[in-house]
C-alpha cells in the first residue's frame, strides 16, 4: 500500500473538528439496539449451568430430568460438539467444559426453554457428578513444583525442564549486559510488584441471538468487537461453512478487549440447531465477572540501576502472568513494553505465561502493558525521588527518541514520548501547589498499534449523499471518524455521510476491533475507497464533457477541468454526478480491501495528584492530566474520551478493582457492589492534552489512541500515593485497608 507522509502539510476542513456523534441520540433516548435488544419470533431463552468448583473432573452429566420438563426445547453439553480443531480447541473448552471444569463459573451445560423461569428451573435438574480436584489461583503458587496441575503437555519448548506443567512458555527480550550496567549505578532498586486481575467492566453484558435452519444456514446477532471473528470461530466449532453463517454486530456497550472472543455464541448456535428455534442468551453481571475474560494478574520482579544524576544504567524485569485456565496470557506483550519508553544500553525482560484455575483472560486495552509499566515506573520513581531528582527530568533524560534501539528490538522512527514529557513539564498542573497529605505522581506508557484485514465500501446514493460500510463494531467513535475522513476526502459536509457497521455477508474479512487499529486501518481504507469513488466520478464528468478522465480533477466536492487545455466546463458537484449516474454507467461506489500493516507506536505521560486520608487509607484523586501523541486527532472529542476512559480504568485498577478468590477458589465479588469500579463522583474531570506527531504510515498521520492511555495510570497513581504518604505501595489495588496497614507499619 502506498504510504503518504505529507499529512503535516495538509490543511483539513473537517478532520480535527468536533461534529455531533451519529449514535448519540439513539443512545441517550434508549433506542440503540444492543445485544439484549434483538428478538425473533418463536425465540427461546438460553441459560448456562456453571461449575461451582474451581477445579473438578466432570464424572458424568445427566440431562434427562431437565429434558423432560415441558417447555425445555434443547439441552447442550460438550458431548454435542464435535472434536474441535486445534486453533479453536481452547475457545470451545472455555465455552463448554470438556473433561474438567477449570474454574468457578466454567460452563458445563446449557438449556433453551420457552421462558427464563422454565430454563432456570430446568438447570437445577441437570445432574452433574464432579470429582473435586485441588486448585490454584495465584500465579506464584501455580509455578511451584507440586502445585495442582491444570493440563499436562501444554508447556512449549521455551520452558526449562523441572518446572510445573502450569508454566506454559518463557519469553526473553532485551540487549546489553545487565550486570555490567548495574555495576555503573550509584543506586539499585530491586522490588517485587503484584497486580490483581481486573475486569474491563463494560456496561453491556454479553448477549446474542442465534438461529439456524435445517438447511444449515444460520444467523447470529451479538455484541462483539469482531463479528467476522465470531463468524469464523463459530463456523469452525459448529462445522458450518463461513458463508452460511451471517453475523450481525449489535450496538456495543463497551468492550475494551473483553469482546474479542466468544463465550455464548457457539452455545446459542448449538441450542438453536438442536431446538430448531431462535435462541437468545444474555449473561448476568455475575456471569460476566465469573466466566468471561478479565486481565491476567501478575507478579513482577524489577531491578533498575541509576546514577545519581538520573541516568538509568540497566533495567531488568521478570514478569509472571497468570492468564486463567488456558495458555495465552499477554506476558510477552508486557515483557516487550516494560522498558519501551526508555533509551537503555542494558535491558532485559523475562516473561512467564502460567495457567491457574481462573477464567481464561481476555484482552484488556494494551494487554499486558499496564502491569509491567506499574512495576518499572514505580521503581524509576523511587530511584528519582531517592536522589532528590525531578521525576519528569529523569524520564526526559532517559526517554526513547527517534533512533533509539527499543528494549524489544527495533530502532524507533519519529515518536512522541519526549513531546509528551516536555508538554507535561510546561503544563500548569506540574507546578500547581499541593496541600497536606497530597502528592503528585507521573508515569509514562507505551503501546503498539497494528492494522489487519480491512474492507470498506463507499456508496454514492442518487441524491448525492454517501454511505460508508465498514466491518468493525464501533467501540470508540469510528462511525464518526470514518464519516469525517470520507467527507474530508470527498469535499462534502460531514452530515452528508453516514457510516454503518455492515454484517459479515456484506463485506470481505475484517480483523477484530482491537489493537487501536480502526481509525488507522479502517480510516486508511475509507480514504482509499473515497479516492476510488472520486476517480469514478471524475470519469463520469469526463464522459459528459467529452474529455479524457485524466483531464479532470476533484476540488472541493466537485469535478472540474484540470487546466485550460481541458476546455471550459462548469464544475460538476458530487450530487450532480450522482443524479445522472444511471445515464453515465450506473451506480457509483468506491471500495478498498487491504491488510494495512506498518502502524506506528504510541506513547503517553500521565500526571496525577492524590490525597491520602491517614485515618482510613482512602485515596482521593484530586487532579489528573493525560498527555498523549495521537498522530492526528480526527475527532478530538473522541480522542479525549479515549484518553479519559483509559485513565479512569487505570485509576480503578490502581485503587479499587480486584478479583477476590476465597480459599475454595470461588470468586467472592462477582457483582458491581463488591467489584468496585470508579464512578463519576469518585473522580475529577480528567484533563487531556493531545499531541500530534504524524504517523508517516497513514495518509492523515493517524496513530491508534485507544489503548496507550491505560498503561501509565497504575504507576502514576501509585507514585502519587507514595509522594502523598511516604509509603511505596508495591501491590495493587491500593485499597484503603491495604494502604492503612502500610501506613501503620511505616
Amino acid at each position: 500500500m502506498a504510504l503518504d507522509s505529507k499529512s503535516e502539510l495538509r490543511e483539513f476542513k473537517i478532520v480535527g473538528t468536533r461534529p455531533l456523534r451519529p449514535d448519540g441520540i439513539d443512545k441517550v433516548t434508549g433506542k440503540a439496539r444492543f445485544g439484549a435488544d434483538i428478538t425473533a419470533p418463536g425465540m427461546l431463552v438460553g441459560l448456562v449451568l456453571r461449575s461451582p468448583h474451581a477445579h473438578a473432573r466432570i464424572v458424568s452429566i445427566d440431562t434427562s430430568r431437565a429434558e423432560a420438563v415441558p417447555g425445555v426445547h434443547a439441552v447442550v453439553t460438550r458431548a454435542d460438539f464435535a472434536e474441535p480443531g486445534e486453533d479453536v480447541a481452547d475457545i470451545l473448552d472455555n465455552c463448554m467444559a470438556g473433561a474438567k471444569a477449570l474454574y468457578d463459573g466454567h460452563a458445563v451445560a446449557a438449556i433453551a426453554a420457552s421462558s427464563g423461569k422454565i430454563a432456570r428451573d430446568a438447570l437445577k435438574l441437570i445432574d452433574v457428578v464432579y470429582e473435586v480436584l485441588p486448585h490454584v489461583t495465584d500465579v506464584d503458587a501455580a509455578m511451584k513444583p507440586g502445585a495442582p496441575v491444570l493440563h499436562e503437555g501444554r508447556t512449549d519448548e521455551t520452558v526449562p525442564e523441572g518446572l510445573s506443567p502450569n508454566v506454559i512458555s518463557r519469553h526473553e527480550f532485551g540487549h546489553g549486559d545487565i550486570e555490567a550496567g548495574l555495576a555503573q549505578a550509584d543506586r539499585i532498586v530491586e522490588r517485587t510488584f503484584q497486580t490483581e486481575a481486573t475486569h474491563q467492566g463494560y456496561i453491556e453484558p454479553h448477549a446474542c441471538l442465534a438461529q439456524m435452519g435445517p438447511d444449515g444456514q444460520a444467523d447470529l446477532w451479538c455484541c462483539t468487537q469482531g463479528h467476522y471473528m465470531a463468524r469464523n470461530v463459530c463456523a469452525e466449532i459448529l462445522g458450518l461453512e463461513q458463508g452460511q453463517l451471517r453475523v450481525t454486530a449489535s450496538e456495543i456497550g463497551g468492550g475494551f478487549g473483553g469482546k474479542t472472543t466468544v463465550f455464548l455464541e457457539p452455545v446459542a448456535l448449538m441450542l438453536a440447531r438442536k431446538s430448531g428455534r431462535p435462541v437468545k442468551m444474555v449473561m448476568t453481571r455475575s456471569e460476566v465477572l465469573r466466566a468471561t475474560g478479565p486481565t491476567a494478574s501478575s507478579s513482577i520482579d524489577v531491578k533498575i540501576g541509576m546514577t545519581k544524576d538520573g541516568r538509568i544504567t540497566a533495567g531488568f524485569a521478570e514478569l509472571r502472568y497468570q492468564g486463567g485456565a488456558y495458555p495465552g496470557s499477554p506476558v510477552d506483550m508486557g515483557s516487550m513494553s516494560a522498558f519501551a519508553p526508555y533509551d537503555l544500553e542494558h535491558v532485559k525482560t523475562i516473561g512467564w505465561d502460567v495457567v491457574t484455575n481462573r477464567p481464561k483472560q481476555a484482552a484488556y486495552r494494551a494487554p499486558g502493558a499496564p502491569m509491567a509499566a506499574f512495576a518499572v515506573e514505580s521503581a524509576i520513581d523511587e530511584l528519582a525521588r531517592g536522589f532528590g531528582l525531578d521525576p519528569l527530568e529523569v524520564r526526559l533524560k532517559n526517554a526513547a527518541r527517534e533512533g533509539t534501539r527499543a528494549s524489544y528490538g527495533p530502532t524507533y522512527p519519529a515518536i512522541g514520548l519526549e513531546a509528551t514529557l516536555r508538554t507535561a513539564k510546561d503544563h500548569p498542573h506540574w507546578s500547581a501547589p499541593l496541600g497536606e497529605n497530597q502528592g503528585r505522581g507521573v508515569a509514562c506508557g507505551f503501546w503498539f498499534n497494528f492494522g489487519g484485514d480491512t474492507c470498506v465500501t463507499l456508496n454514492i446514493t442518487p441524491d448525492g449523499t454517501v454511505t460508508v460500510s465498514e466491518g468493525n463494531p464501533d467501540i470508540g467513535g469510528s462511525r464518526a471518524s470514518m464519516s469525517m475522513m470520507a467527507a474530508e476526502e470527498l469535499g462534502i459536509p460531514y452530515e452528508k455521510v453516514r457510516t454503518i457497521v455492515a454484517d459479515t455477508g456484506s463485506l470481505g474479512q475484517n480483523e477484530v476491533t482491537d489493537g487501536s487499529r480502526v481509525t488507522f486501518a479502517v480510516g486508511l481504507a475509507t480514504i482509499e475507497a473515497a479516492r476510488a469513488a472520486i476517480r469514478e466520478m471524475c470519469k463520469r464528468a469526463a464522459m459528459v464533457w467529452g474529455i479524457e478522465p485524466e483531464a479532470v480533477e476533484w476540488v472541493d466536492g466537485a469535478a472540474q477541468p484540470a487546466g485550460p487545455n481541458a476546455g471550459e466546463h462548469p464544475p460538476m458537484t458530487l450530487a450532480e454526478i450522482a443524479a445522472i449516474a444511471s445515464n453515465t454507467g450506473g451506480p457509483i461506489a468506491g471500495h478498498h480491501e487491504a491488510n494495512p500493516e506498518g502502524a506506528g507506536v504510541s506513547f503517553a505521560t500521565h500526571m496525577v495528584d492524590t490525597e491520602v486520608d491517614p485515618d482510613t487509607g482512602a485515596v482521593k484523586i484530586l487532579r489528573y492530566t493525560v498527555f498523549q501523541d495521537a498522530g492526528k486527532a480526527i475527532h478530538p472529542a473522541y480522542v479525549e474520551g479515549q484518553f479519559q476512559g483509559g485513565a479512569v480504568q487505570g485509576i480503578g485498577w490502581a485503587l479499587n478493582e480486584e478479583y477476590i478468590y476465597g480459599e475454595d477458589g470461588v470468586l467472592q465479588n462477582a457483582g458491581f457492589l463488591d467489584y468496585r469500579v470508579p464512578v463519576a463522583s469518585d473522580l475529577p474531570m480528567i484533563d487531556t492534552v493531545i499531541l500530534e506527531i504524524p504517523n508517516p504510515g497513514h495518509p492523515y498521520g493517524v496513530r491508534g489512541v485507544g489503548e496507550t492511555s491505560i498503561v501509565p495510570p497504575l504507576a502514576a497513581v501509585a507514585n502519587a500515593v507514595s509522594a502523598a504518604s511516604g509509603v511505596r505501595m508495591t501491590s495493587l489495588p491500593i485499597s484503603p485497608p491495604k494502604l492503612l496497614a502500610a501506613l501503620h507499619e511505616r
Partner: protein
Amino acid sequence: MVQVRIWGSLAAATEDQTEVEIEASTLRELLDGLAARYPAMRPQLERGVSVSIDGRIYTENWFTPIHKDSEVVLLARLKGG
C-alpha cells in the same frame, strides 16, 4: 542477505546467536528461510510472530519487501484489546 535480530528466548534455536543472516527479499522468504535454517524455531514461527522492518511492524503480508540494508527484528506476535 539481511541481518535479522531475534528475541532472547529464540536464541536457543540459533545456537545462542541473537543476530542471524537470511537470504530474503520479502517477509515470506524471511520466515521460510528462518524455518529452513533453524528448524527449532518452527514451533514459534507456527504460533506466530510479528516482524519489525525499518521500525514498522508487519505480521501477515507475505510480500512486504525487505531490503538488504533494512533493519529486521523478529517480535512476539502482537495482540491488542
